[in-house]
């Protein structure tokens, strides 16, 4: 389904919502308000906790902080090396995005637009990777990284994450690209485009929403990943954000107020990412939801 059709459908829904009666609208808004509170409450609690002292947290778990402790943020930033770990996470995430997008788009293009004997075999071979949980592969992955001397390497970590993102991305993009009308491609060929030009100038721009969806999924997966990062990275200055956040949970004592401050800081790149790409993200997600 093209993006014009989707926008039309969304507008139709908006119109139909306006037609409902006043009572029904009150019920809808009340329901939506409850949903918003449910979503916002944990976030607010996180912010309030990040501004309390440990003793205040014990005595007053749910209330507002009496005197906001901004020092929790300073301590989390300094002690938890948040700046460094955010940069490290960004590096591995960007590598993951680049590798995932390049490989998934090219594989999906070939599999969706060309007919050849092993097409389906290769497709299933790639997507079967979705069935391998990362936990089942940690020991062979670790040995591979060790033998190839790829430990303590954020770029290599990005490659590993990408390897686990490719199957799902190909699964999504291949069906997305299949839905692009063949006539567009044929017109391009008549106009003198080769395979490469058709891919770059026709297929890729039309798949933009789908690509954004796989980018979002890749970001979500590797920004929060702990197990592989923990195994592949040993050096204290080459660790990613989730490992850094775990640092606030000690063997015997946990700094929960500083952990919450760290979590608020960790949320910021995601919020900025969302603020910058809000429209495209929503479009990308809805394309995935109602593609036909």
């Amino acid at each position: 389904m093209s993006s014009i059709a989707i926008n039309k459908k969304i507008n139709d829904n908006r119109v139909s919502l306006l037609k409902v009666g006043k009572k029904a609208r009150i019920v809808i808004y009340a329901f939506m308000a409850i949903c918003s509170i449910l979503v916002l409450l944990p976030l607010l609690w996180l912010i309030f906790t990040s501004l309390k002292t440990q003793a205040e947290l014990t005595q007053n778990i749910w209330g507002l902080p009496k005197s906001p402790q901004l020092s929790n943020y300073a301590l989390a930033w300094k002690k938890g090396r948040m700046g460094l770990y955010i940069t490290n996470s960004l590096i591995s995430t960007i590598v993951t995005i680049i590798i995932t997008v390049i490989t998934s788009t090219t594989i999906s293009f070939i599999l969706s637009r060309f007919t050849f004997k092993l097409n389906r075999t290769i497709y299933y071979l790639v997507v079967i990777g979705m069935m391998i949980p990362i936990h089942a592969a940690v020991i062979p992955l670790y040995i591979m990284a060790l033998n190839l001397k790829l430990q303590n390497n954020l770029v290599a970590l990005g490659f590993i994450y990408a390897a686990f993102r490719i199957p799902a991305s190909v699964f999504f993009l291949e069906s997305y690209m299949k839905s692009i009308p063949k006539e567009l491609e044929e017109s391009a060929i008549i106009d003198g485009c080769g395979i490469w030009k058709t891919f770059v100038n026709i297929i890729l721009p039309l798949s933009k929403d789908g690509i954004i969806t796989i980018v979002i999924l890749a970001v979500l997966a590797c920004w929060n990943e702990l197990l592989v990062a923990m195994l592949m990275l040993n050096q204290p200055f080459i660790k990613t954000l989730p490992i850094g956040l775990m640092g606030f949970i000690g063997e015997y004592n946990s700094e929960y107020t500083q952990l919450c401050a760290g979590l608020v800081i960790a949320c910021l790149p995601g919020l900025i990412f969302y603020a910058l790409l809000k429209e495209k993200i929503v479009k990308g997600m809805t394309v995935g939801a109602i593609k036909g």
Partner: protein, 470 residues
């Protein structure tokens, strides 16, 4: 057509090359093995002289040390300073500190041991060290203690502490790290307010549980979500059947007798059920994190808290200075109706320590031992004791006016304890420990499992573990 065929051929070749490369990287070829350093041999077997300090002072060595002293903890700051001093004193050694919370550390070291690439030295718990020693992955500390180059270990620790980690064949698995001892911590303010005495017997404990309910509070709180039942499981077991039979059950020939009353576990669980039936624990304990439990104790919603010597540090965090001054410790109560039980043994001992892996070159092993000496020294642990965070296992004295009184009580209890039984997570095989603290005790607590079903779950885990030994 020819161009298309060529492309197909290239694609097939590319796939083949990728497959071969992947398999080559996955497999541990014999060449790789040859390239790796030989495991260090036991000097007692080959009659070599005791090893000297790092042999080639000019050679650069990198030692990796794994510990749970993560960046935000007070221990991490002390450790960072010690690392700096160690590197200044040994300019040819670079020490990489890989800090992870203990649960993640256990996962990582297990994977690294399996992949034959463990750190040079690591924090470790007794039950994991036993598995590594069984597979000859770690060094025998006996030879180190007998080495005049490392005489400090005998100066700092007595023989009982040094030999805490004896493997069944007499080898020693770990160097001492910290002192572990249990405590039934109680809030003196609550006890004084109602005129109660700390419980001496299990019947007293049940009685206090009932009195607590009358006052609208609970007797004991614990972090069920974090599976904090390992210490209570050991306490109940040793009070029910004594150390010898408990040891036989957890580590000896009776490993598959968890449902046999002769080895005490059914009675221990029966006592636990008595506590549950007396409403000693607050509802929803299974879902409480350890921090939430600490907070409940600090708010006076529970009168007692049972676990290990690190808890005062948590109570200080949760309740501040005023609260920690009110906390005192007693032994877990005796069971008067259990004639075979040991009323005086404490849970703890030296159940965590530092392992050094054996598959490294000799000079790296020696450098790792030198580092372990630093973290076993009073310089590392005394500050932790004085700030009320933890206890030193060695003989060095500390300033008793600095920590809260409950730390002094714990230290005295550790020094005077007649016998120790390790906590279940350091004692029983990991699978059995998990069955106890993840399934059996939470099951009884939540009412999801009957007593018999809970014991059967543990028995099943033990039988499955025993099969792996065959």
């Amino acid at each position: 057509m020819a161009k298309k065929q060529l492309l197909k051929l290239l694609a097939v070749m590319l796939v083949l090359v990728l497959c071969v490369a992947s398999f080559a990287a996955c497999s541990q070829s014999s060449d790789d093995q040859e390239g790796k350093p030989e495991p260090a041999e036991d000097p007692k077997d080959d009659g070599k002289e005791p090893a000297e300090k790092p042999q080639d002072p000019g050679k650069k060595l990198t030692i990796r040390y794994m510990s749970p002293a993560t960046a935000g903890t007070p221990q991490a700051e002390i450790l960072e300073e010690l690392i700096k001093e160690f590197e200044d004193e040994n300019p040819n050694i670079t020490l990489v500190h890989d800090a992870l919370p203990s649960a993640e550390l256990r996962t990582k070291i297990t994977v690294e041991m399996a992949a034959d690439n463990p750190p040079h030295a690591s924090w470790c718990i007794l039950s994991y060290a036993r598995e590594f020693m069984r597979d000859d992955k770690i060094i025998d500390w006996k030879t180190v203690y007998d080495d005049p180059n490392h005489k400090e270990f005998k100066e700092w620790f007595d023989d009982k502490t040094l030999e805490f980690s004896a493997y069944k064949d007499g080898r020693l698995m770990m160097a001492p790290y910290e002192a572990s001892i249990d405590g039934l911590f109680y809030n003196t303010e609550i006890f004084e307010k109602y005129g109660w005495e700390p419980p001496k017997t299990f019947d007293d404990l049940i009685d206090i549980a009932k009195k607590c309910r009358e006052q609208g509070i609970y007797a004991i709180v614990t972090g069920g979500k974090d599976m904090r039942f390992a210490w209570m499981a050991s306490a109940l077991l040793v009070r029910a059947i004594g150390i010898e039979k408990a040891t036989e059950l957890a580590m000896g020939d009776a490993i598959t007798k968890w449902n046999d009353p002769e080895y005490g576990f059914p009675q221990a669980m029966e006592k636990f059920k008595e506590l549950v039936d007396a409403e000693a624990f607050p509802p929803g304990t299974v879902g409480l994190s350890a921090t939430e439990a600490d907070q409940m104790f600090a708010r006076g919603e529970a009168a007692m808290y049972y676990e290990g010597q690190w808890k005062p540090g948590n109570f200080l965090t949760a309740g501040g200075d005023d609260f920690i001054k009110k906390v005192r410790r007693v032994n877990f109560p005796a069971m008067t109706d259990m004639p075979e039980g040991d009323p005086d043994a404490c849970v703890g001992g030296t159940i965590v320590g530092t392992i050094v892996t054996s598959n490294k070159p000799e000079e790296e092993i020696q450098a790792a031992i030198e580092w372990v000496k630093v973290i076993s020294s009073p310089a590392y642990y005394i500050p932790s004791t004085e700030t009320g965070q933890n206890l030193y296992a060695g003989k060095a004295e500390y300033d008793r006016t600095k920590p809260p009184e409950v730390i002094n009580q714990l230290y005295d209890a550790f020094q005077s304890a007649p016998r120790f039984i390790p906590s279940m997570d350091a004692f029983a095989p990991p699978a059995v420990d998990l069955a106890i603290k993840k399934t059996a005790m939470p099951g009884i607590l939540s009412g999801e499992l009957t007593l018999e079903a809970a014991i059967a779950e543990v028995q099943k885990a033990a039988e499955e573990y025993a099969k792996t030994l065959e």
